[in-house]
Symmetry: C2
Subunit: 256 residues, 2 copies
């Protein structure tokens, strides 16, 4: 079976020229088919501030009103995405920068209002696996921005971790998939203040144990829950690693 | 030979929801292969103002410093491009929004500094005709933002009229091409204050005559010079028309 590596990066790594350059250099070393999924970090929030748009976060999640959606689309699908694509082209990677609306790649549904109205936030409904597979077969490297659409003309802000996981699941029938979540830390840590306390291997049982003990908590919980779901759906290998070490066999390996 | 329609739109048409909707409805009625090339109008300038970035125009052309390039890429390749793509998808047009960096579609060279340094402005060197032709054959409708790259990692602001003309020329070997420049006026006017004074047919001789008489002037001159070059390169038909009348056989037809 063909091998596909999906790398998810976010935050400061893609926003600062030096770290982006280092990241793309590492990415260029990956053999076989590959996809990059990126977030955008804090620059969207900074632009909102400059433009006088108030950013509301609930449990670490952005409430996306019409103005914020515009800024997110501009920053992530515009500047960050095209900067990555141009720099990949310079590394002779034939990149194509896409949102979920392009080629109808990722259809999502606006998150229903329960206690909280998150605004223009989309939950992934369907990944267009045949089209992604075709792009890969043709030699392109898709660079995916965390914006999707509802099929009725509405763009939606969508979590980049989730997009990476859903793409991995959708392509797991056709490819042997390695999914790498790049991270500022070196992996999942036993002690968040000790960068060397990386958990080398994490299976479901150990995850439940660390979760119960409060060792794994916060934003890492949904990331890991997504990871175990992706493994259950046939994804071969999931690694949480520092971007600069993604090819070094370091970080936390997630196993079922 | 296969028929391809290339539509170039810009300015207010793509920025206002109502006029964009009407435009895309017209565009959806075009049979056969099609490409949309868009500019972005004044919203980039407005964003620059809001962000405190000074816009310098020389002879109606924007001087693009690093900050302006960022805003242009955000607004044109981000917001305008993806808004168009999402709305096309809702009309069951399988659009894919691209810059010249994506799939290495349009390679350009930074304009050399002579009297004026235009900054990050690119002149088209090469259009990747085989890749565009392949997208069309696969059923996609490319939506092209006026941003290109130099192949060495630098994005460049590039005139959308020129991009439309260069794409037309590059694809003229494989397609019977109709190139439509959409415009706020109904065509090229004999009297700019009389909307009904559309010149129905303009050949090179008549163009030179009107040019000498000062009837055709300003921004229309480079547009028409581009048009005659495209005809000379094998493009079949060029029309300058109001967006709402692009399918009505109205406007100014340019002939060699």
């Amino acid at each position: 079976m063909k091998h596909l590596t999906i790398v998810k990066v976010g935050g400061k790594i893609v926003e600062e020229p030096e770290s982006l350059k280092a990241l793309l250099k590492e990415f260029s070393l990956i053999a076989g088919y590959k996809i990059l999924v990126h977030g955008g970090g804090r620059s969207a929030t900074q632009f909102c501030e400059k433009l006088g748009i108030q950013t509301t976060m609930i449990d670490g999640r952005r409430v996306t009103d019409a103005e914020s959606l515009k800024v997110i689309t501009m920053v992530y699908a515009g500047w960050v995405n095209k900067t990555i694509v141009a720099q990949m082209q310079a590394l002779h990677i034939d990149a194509v920068g896409l949102t979920g609306a392009d080629m109808n790649l990722i259809l999502s549904a606006r998150r229903p209002v329960q206690k909280i109205d998150y605004g223009y936030v989309g939950d992934v409904k369907e990944v267009n696996a045949p089209v992604l597979a075709e792009l890969l077969e043709q030699g392109y490297v898709p660079v995916i921005a965390p914006v999707t659409h509802d099929g009725e003309g509405q763009l939606l802000n969508t979590n980049a971790d989730t997009i990476a996981g859903e793409i991995a699941k959708a392509l797991a029938f056709d490819f042997n998939i390695r999914l790498i979540y790049c991270f500022e830390k070196r992996g999942v840590l036993l002690d968040e203040n000790d960068d060397d306390s990386v958990i080398p291997l994490l299976d479901k049982e150990l995850f439940e144990k660390y979760k119960a003990e409060g060792i794994i908590q916060g934003g890492m919980l949904p990331k890991l829950e997504n990871a175990f779901q992706a493994l259950a759906a046939g994804v071969q290998e999931i690694i949480i690693s520092r971007a600069s070490e993604m090819n070094a066999g370091k970080g936390t390996f997630i196993k079922n």
